[in-house]
Structure formats: structure tokens, C-alpha cells
Symmetry: C2
Subunit: 570 residues, 2 copies
């Protein structure tokens, strides 16, 4: 029982020096690598940079104790930071203490929601974020984040928050760009893009082993931070107008108690729910992918509890909403992390930086961080996935397109809610006009296929109608129409057999419709039969009076019905 | 084309004297019968009684021209009046000119919505009101209406509008009841209940033919109105405190132009939508039932246009939202109406009453109307349907129970929206954990059934998994889990065949999952096959790369897969 809720108990007893060595190295590498992005994502959310460091400390420990993935690394991530910024700016102005305070409430709410979902074993809720909706949302979020960073890269202060006005303002203000900032920002951007494209192969051509080449390529942001910070300090660029991180408070995060203000809680409830679900979906699918590579399993419901715990930890230590991060997890995995203890070592490393090294970060230019963010989110915009979805299904594509457009124009919450709502509506619409087919016997076999697609035997007094959908309220009347049309167009009809091989459910509304069909056919002297009714559906029909009132029989197979009914009665 | 939108053109050219005689008689009978209920439903909606008469005039003509049902009679109906009252009291105080004005706006909006739905051929939207939700809503509405009339029956003025406070207030104010009102109200109530229960048989025992006995039984409310009005006038009961209808303006309805006040329009939009859909569902299912009896067809989409036209007519002639009414339609049908012209004759009759006879209605006691309403809505509370639904399906029952509770506690809009939302959520939840079954061959046949329910042949290296649901975003991951569990528990497995006979749809999310399953099984040296894939699903799969990447084959039937794979490979 305790092991189920504290997975740490399953692996810690078997811990040994070999694992410890690997984890320690991975922890060290992660420490160095994630500091730039931790700072950057806090800035992206409109929070003081140090909040990103705080949110990488105790939350990591919580995940070490509660998580079921061996290699997932938690902390501030781009998408969640974007959503956090959007949510917080609805209740407070960036830069105010209320804004920072609201971030704690958002973390707390998100933590409570995740824990509640975990205890209620509601991991399935995540399934309602379909692939096209998530894919569309991430692509749109990538564009939004890029737009939010463009001003920092160019040294232009932008007032507009929405995408279109922001772009318009950016273009209008372009002549006022700040050249030193642009040099730093664009320089970093080009360097990082070059590194991503050619870095690995160039380093390998220099004779470095693959793993080291990978690591150095990933260290690009760290190098950029170091170089631009030194340059800014050396040439005193802060005085020349280059925006820098500035003074970061030294020391461990303070303990915080998120305040209770009913209006703020209410305003942040829906955003917290969406942040929880998006964070969970991203985190758990990444965890599953990595677990599969190592033939391990993760437990989605325990992951909910673990992510809940990390967010509660963030709420009480001056943090912000956190989740499993793609970049930091991949770094952790590639650096050879073996157990969640690697996360704890990284925590100790980041803690040490927070304690002693924050003054060194004073001169870190915001433009460098903006470039780092921009490069890391470019991969989110997935054009090939959009194209594939278009090719595969117009319905899925329209859900995706709606998600993208709504996210870009109306914001992240409208995007997700609209996408999910449209997905559900489209699914319901599709099932509300169910495919059905008149089938005939493929000569000499016991198989029955669509008379329009195959060469089949039929009988004019017998209609075998295969229903390709569960029967429920949304399509019950449609079934009535289909059968009535059939009877109206074929006056010689004596038997109608509904083949229910694809009917997984007959709800109360559909039962009423079957009753009505039975009564109407009886008036027209046509007998109604069923065939291939599944076990669970049959069990349920037996709980009603329908089978007693039905004029015909229930056949085990279409073939049995054919054998019995295909010869015309006298 | 013109005939499609003006069904009157299809039947009027064939009109003759015989039809005319029948329609005229039906029109006369309807005139007399529907006056009490027209007045009563206007009062139920909190509107002046005369509005009920106005709403029976031009709207009837509109339906005569546009409707496809031969016998449906439109006008104010109980449910719509209840919903109208609930909607209007949200934007104005009953008794004020703003309240009457808002009723016009509500009719206009409802008319516009219905016409738009008709032009867009969106009749299918009505299907989302499942039988349990409608049934539950009507039952709860019956209780609400009864509670709203109790005060009038007892001569107690009630201030509370919600159900519970109203009942509490009623009990507390009970000692202050007005005896003469109670005598009229309770007397009418008992008389009408007696008539309904025993009237027909008693009259037939007196030797009257069945049709006349039926008619006289239905004339009960008219008789009650006549007697109590005369009594009130004769004994001057108005001066003794019996509430009466009072002065009704004489003459035809004024032409009205609903005002445009953005806030009112916005507040009434959702109520208008619900009124439209509920009115349409009630009206069209009644029309279908009667059409079936006479072997006629009605067109749901044209009915939307017709109901839209009637509501627009109501909006411009000082009316209120209208719909096809059960009572008035049954009276019309039983009185022998042959074509919609009967409705026009009834309109002329009611018009004559409005012109000349309204002074005679001055002394009509409100309590009589309340008793009329109460008796006619008692049938809405359908306990046997509630019991049957409980027996048939807990899921349907819970949607019904939620609708009833929400309607009673939170009001009609919350009831319908909550019921529909819950129905959809339950359906999605059910399909999100799809039933699947390992199947085996029934020895000697080509049939494959659930190994747990039937005695079957199986092979340890071959798993035939029948999936009993369409594969879409909500259940894609569940399928992955099912297959992975299967592979994990059966190490000797070489082939997994997914039998897709019940799979009507594979959306983009499910395609990703199939890709993932294929890749994972490949790693475990298990081959993935499909069988019995339906035509439309196969067409769609061909638009992706999945079939190229799949390790196994697509079999036409489960039997073909069995024949090919059931012998172990070497």
C-alpha cells in the first residue's frame, strides 16, 4: 500500500554505488544545463527569473519520492509557463507582488486538482485531449511564445499582449530597435540554430565520441549564457541599455503560504485545470515513451499524484506551476540517469547555485534567454503532422485547425477548450448519422458483405441491414428513418434483420426507437429480427420488454438468419 | 422548390367540399376547447391572459401554410409557457410592459433560431435530447407547474419563485387560504379528475356514442369555465376576493415590432435556443406519431421552418412563444380534422371570440384556469417511465435523475443543459473504456466468439482480440494498455489479430496508437494483424502510412486469419 503511493520504496532499497555514480553525473550535467531554461521560463511567465530556480528545487524532490518514471525531470516548462502567464495576467499585473502571489495559488490549485484526479483514478480524462488538439495547441503555443520573445530579441518593449496587435506593434516599432540587444539576441539565436543543425556532425568530425558530441551540442545554451553574460559585464552593456536579469536574491527559497482570496481562486480554477491536464498529458506521454525504451512501465494515476505533489511543493516554496519537461528529461536521460535520485542530485546542484552563484547571473542578458526559448520551442511547430492529419481525416484536421486558430486569436484556454469541444461535437455528429449497409451472402460462404461493394446473393423479401454503430440517443431516430425508408421502397419485404455485430450499446432512447420500429413494421406485416447481438447488449435487452414484444427472433449469426429466412414463405 | 417550402401548395389544390366540412367542424370544436388553455398558459408564463388568444391566431395561419403535419395544432403550450416564464423573469418583472415586450423578443429569437436550423437542415440537433432527458424534464416540469398553480388554487399569493421556498411558503401561508377561491379551484380540480377517470364510461352508459362521449369528456374544462364564470358573476365573488381574469382588451391583436435591446437579446438567447429545441422535439414527435397512424410522412426540417414561421408570427402580433400542443392537437385529430385548414378555421373562431366575446370572460376565476392546467400536466409526471429506465440502464437513469433534480432545484435551463451534458459525458465515458474480448473458434464453424462466454478453440501463440468500439481519441490509449497487458502476460505470443468488425471509425489519435502498438509489438517480436476491417475504415487507413509499416496483414475474416496463423510457426 505504502509502496503504491511512494514508488521510491520500490527502487531505493536496491540502490548501489554503480547507480549512484551514474545518477550523480547526470545530476551535475542537468544542473548546468537547466539553469538557463529555468530562468527563461520564469521570465516567459512574467515572473522574476529566480522563481524558475525555486521551482526546480523542492518539486524535484517531490517527484523523486512519488514518481514512477525513472528518468522524467520536472521543473518549469515552456507550454506551462506560457499558460501560467496567460492565466496570471487575468488576475494581476506582471511585476506586482499580487502576480507572484497568484502564481503560488495557481500552483496550489493545480497540485490539488492533480492529486484529486490521482486519488479518483481519473487519468482517463487526459484522453479527451486528442492528438490533433494537442498537436495543434503545441504548434500554436510555439508561435505565441516566439512572438512573445521577439521583443526581447530586438530590444523593443511591446505593450500589446495578443498576437496580432503584438505583431503590428512590433513592425511599427521596428525602427526603434536596440542594436546591442539585437546583436546579442540574434547572435545567440544564429549560434544555437547552427549548433542544432550542424553542431553534432562538426564535433564528431573533430573526433569526439557520439555521446560527448551530443552533450556539447546540448550545452549550447549554457555556453551562450556564459559568453553573453561575460561580454555584457565586460563592456558594461547594461549601462548602454541591454536588458539583463539583474539582482537575483541569494539563498534558498522562502517558505510561502498561498493566500486565500475567493475571487482569485475562482478566476484561476479553469486555467489550473487546463494547466494540470496539459502538463499531465505532456509529462505522461514523455514518460511512457522513455519507459518503453527501457522496458519499464509507468503508472498514469500515480503520475497524477506525483505531479500533484510537485506542484504543491512549488506552491509552498515560492515557485510556479511545473511539469515534466521535454528538454530537461532528454538531457537527464542522455546523461545516463538511472533512477529518480538523479533529480535529487540536480536539485542539490541548483540549490548550491541559488545559494552562492546568483550574483554571477546579474549581467545575463534577457535577449540570450529569449533566443534560448525561441530555439527550443521551434520544434513545437510541427508542420508535417498538420499535413498528415489533413491527408488522413478532414474531421480531425478541422479540430486541429480550430485549436490553432483559437489559441492564436483567443488565447491558450479558448484554444484547448474549443478544440476539445469541437472534437467531441464532431465525434458525436459522426456517430449520429451511423453508417449502415444492406448486406448479402458471398456465395458459398457464411460471410455477408455490403451488397454495393461485393458480389452477393440476396432475396427480395428479406433485408439484412448491418448497423455500423452503437445505438444511442444521438442516432436512434436516424435508425428509424433508415428502416422506414427501406420498408417504403421495398413493398415485397417480409423480413428485416438488423445485424448488430457493430452495436456495442443500445441505450434507453434507442430501445424506444426499436420498439417504435417493431410496432411500425408489425402494422406493415413485416417481421423484425436481430442477429449477432453481443453478449453485454443481449444481457441489457433482457432487462426490458422489447424481446417479448418483438415480432421476430434473435439469430446467433447472419448465416443462421439467412438459412432460416431466405426461402420466401408461402 | 416552392412546394418544398410551402407544403400548403401540395394539398390545397386537391381540396374539396367533403374535406371542408370535416375541417370546419374540427375548427369549431377546437375554437371552443382551446380558449381556456390558451388563457391559462399565458397566465402560467406570467403574461396577460389575452396574449394566449393572440398567440393562437396568426401563428395558426403560419402553420397552415408551412407545416407538413395534417393535424398538428399550434399555440401556447404548458412546457413552453413554463420555460417562457422562467426566461422572462430573468430580464423583467412580471406585470410590467418590459415583461410583455421581452416575450415578443423571445418569440422572435426562437423563430429566427428555428428558421435558421431549418435552412441549415439541423433537425438532427434535436436528437441530443435523449428520451431519458426529455422524460425527466417533462416530469420535473409537471411538478414545477403544479407548484406554480397551487397558490392560485388556494387563493394564496406566493412571493417565492423557486420550488422549495415556494412549497415552504405555501405550507406557512396555508391558514390564510381564501375559502371561496378554494371551493372554485378544488371543485374544478375534482370535477376534471372525476371526468377524466369516469366521464367517458358514465356517458357511454347513458347511451351516447363513443365519439360524442369522448368529445364531451374533453369539453370538461369548457364546462368548468362556463359554470365558474357564471357563478362568480352571479354571486359577485370578485368583490369577495376571488381573483378573476378581469378586463381583456377587445379586438384583434395589435401589430408589434419586438425592440432591439442588446442586453435583453443576449440574456434571452440561450432560453430561446432551449425553447426552440424543446418545442421542436415535442412538436415533431407528436406529428410523427399522428402521421404514422394515417400513413403520412412529415419532414422534420420543414417542421423547423414551420415552427419558426409560427413564432415569428407570434412575435409580430403581441404573442408569446408557441409550439405544437399535445392537448389541442389531440382535440383537433379526434374532432376529425383532415387538413391544416382546420387550424385556419379555428383561428377564425378564436378571432371572433377575441373581437366580440372577451367581456364575457371578465369573471372567469384564475383558480379555474389553475385547476385546468394542473389536471392537464399531471400526465407529464411519468413514474412508470422512470421505473423502466432504472431497470434498463443505470447510466440512462442517472442522466434522467440529474435532469429531474436540476430542473426542480436550479430551473428549466439548468435541467436541460445539465441532462444533455451528462448524457454526452456518460456516452463518452462508456466508449472511452471499450469492451474488447479475446475470441476463439467455435469448433467446426467459421464463427468466433468470446472465449469466456463460449466453448472455443484457441492457440497459445495467437491472440484474436475483438474490439467492440470505434477507435477514437477517448479510447485510443486504453487500447494500447489492453494490447500491452496481453503481450506482457503471454510470453509465447507470436501474433496479435485485432478484429475490427465493430470498429466504425479510426481517428488520427487512434492511428497514432496503432502505430505505437505496431512498433512496440515489433520490438517484442510479435506480429500485428487486422481482420474484418470495414470498407470505409479501410479506405481511410489507406490514406496513411500505417498499412505499409504494419508488420502483419489485413485479413478479410477472422476465419481467414485463423486458417493462416493458428498453426505455430517453426
Amino acid at each position: 500500500m505504502l509502496r503504491r503511493y511512494l514508488p521510491v520504496l520500490t527502487w531505493l532499497p536496491h540502490y548501489n554505488r554503480r547507480l549512484g555514480g551514474a545518477d550523480l553525473l547526470a545530476g551535475l550535467i542537468v544542473t548546468v544545463m537547466v539553469i538557463p531554461q529555468s530562468l527563461a521560463y520564469a521570465v516567459l511567465a512574467g515572473l522574476p527569473a529566480v522563481v524558475g530556480l525555486y521551482a526546480s528545487l523542492l518539486p524535484s524532490l517531490a517527484y523523486t519520492l512519488l514518481g514512477t518514471s525513472r528518468t522524467l525531470a520536472v521543473g518549469p516548462v515552456a507550454i506551462i509557463a506560457l499558460m501560467t502567464g496567460a492565466a496570471l495576467s487575468g488576475v494581476a499585473a506582471p511585476g506586482t507582488p499580487e502576480y507572484v502571489e497568484a502564481a503560488l495559488i495557481l500552483s496550489l490549485l493545480s497540485g490539488l486538482i492533480l492529486v484529486a484526479m490521482g486519488l479518483l483514478r481519473m487519468g482517463f480524462v487526459a484522453n479527451f485531449l486528442s492528438h490533433p488538439v494537442i498537436g495543434g495547441f503545441l504548434s500554436a503555443a510555439g508561435i505565441l511564445i516566439a512572438a512573445s520573445q521577439a521583443g526581447y530579441l530586438l530590444g523593443i518593449e511591446l505593450a500589446a499582449r495578443d498576437l496580432l496587435p503584438r505583431v503590428v506593434e512590433l513592425v511599427r516599432e521596428l525602427p526603434g530597435l536596440h542594436l546591442p540587444t539585437l546583436v546579442i539576441g540574434a547572435g545567440t539565436l544564429i549560434f544555437l540554430l547552427w549548433l542544432r543543425q550542424y553542431g553534432r556532425s562538426s564535433l564528431r568530425r573533430l573526433g569526439l565520441p557520439r555521446s560527448l558530441a551530443d552533450l556539447l551540442t546540448r550545452a549550447g545554451p549554457v555556453l551562450a549564457v556564459a559568453v553573453t553574460t561575460l561580454a555584457t559585464w565586460h563592456w558594461g552593456l547594461e549601462q548602454r541599455g541591454v536588458a539583463v536579469i539583474g539582482d537575483i536574491p541569494q539563498g534558498l527559497p522562502p517558505l510561502t503560504l498561498p493566500g486565500f482570496d475567493a475571487a482569485t481562486w475562482q478566476a484561476l480554477l479553469v486555467p489550473a485545470l487546463l494547466i494540470s491536464i496539459v502538463g499531465f498529458v505532456e509529462s505522461v506521454s514523455m514518460g511512457q515513451m522513455l519507459a518503453a525504451r527501457r522496458r519499464e512501465r509507468i503508472s498514469p494515476n500515480q503520475e497524477l499524484l506525483a505531479l500533484g505533489g510537485t506542484n504543491l511543493a512549488a506552491a509552498f516554496t515560492a515557485g510556479m506551476p511545473v511539469s515534466g519537461g521535454l528538454t530537461r528529461t532528454v538531457i537527464n536521460y542522455d546523461a545516463g540517469a538511472q533512477t529518480p535520485l538523479a533529480g535529487m542530485f540536480a536539485m542539490l546542484g541548483i540549490g548550491a547555485v541559488t545559494l552562492f552563484l546568483t550574483p554571477a547571473l546579474h549581467h545575463l542578458p534577457i535577449a540570450t534567454l529569449a533566443a534560448t526559448i525561441t530555439v527550443s520551442i521551434i520544434t513545437l511547430v510541427d508542420v508535417s503532422m498538420i499535413r498528415q492529419t489533413w491527408r488522413y481525416s478532414r474531421s480531425d484536421f478541422s479540430a486541429m485547425a480550430a485549436t490553432i486558430l483559437l489559441t492564436l486569436v483567443e488565447g491558450v484556454e479558448a484554444g484547448i477548450l474549443g478544440g476539445v469541444g469541437l472534437s467531441i461535437a464532431l465525434f458525436l455528429y459522426r456517430t449520429s448519422r451511423p453508417h449502415s449497409a444492406l448486406v448479402g451472402r458471398i456465395a458459398g460462404t457464411e460471410h455477408f458483405r455490403n451488397v454495393e461493394r461485393h458480389d452477393t446473393e440476396t432475396a427480395s423479401h428479406l433485408a439484412l441491414l448491418r448497423i455500423d454503430e452503437s445505438l444511442y440517443f444521438a442516432n436512434a431516430r436516424y435508425l428509424e428513418d433508415t428502416v422506414y425508408d427501406l420498408v417504403a421502397t421495398r413493398p415485397e419485404l417480409e423480413h428485416v434483420v438488423l445485424i448488430c455485430s457493430a452495436v456495442n450499446l443500445i441505450d434507453a432512447s434507442a430501445l424506444e426507437s426499436l420498439d417504435a420500429i417493431n410496432a411500425r413494421l408489425k402494422d406493415s406485416r413485416v417481421t423484425l429480427h436481430l442477429a449477432e447481438v453481443k453478449g453485454p447488449v443481449m444481457d441489457q435487452l433482457k432487462r426490458s420488454d422489447f424481446l417479448d414484444d418483438m415480432t421476430g427472433r434473435v439469430f446467433l449469426s447472419s448465416y443462421a438468419a439467412w438459412r432460416e429466412l431466405s426461402r420466401p414463405s408461402e
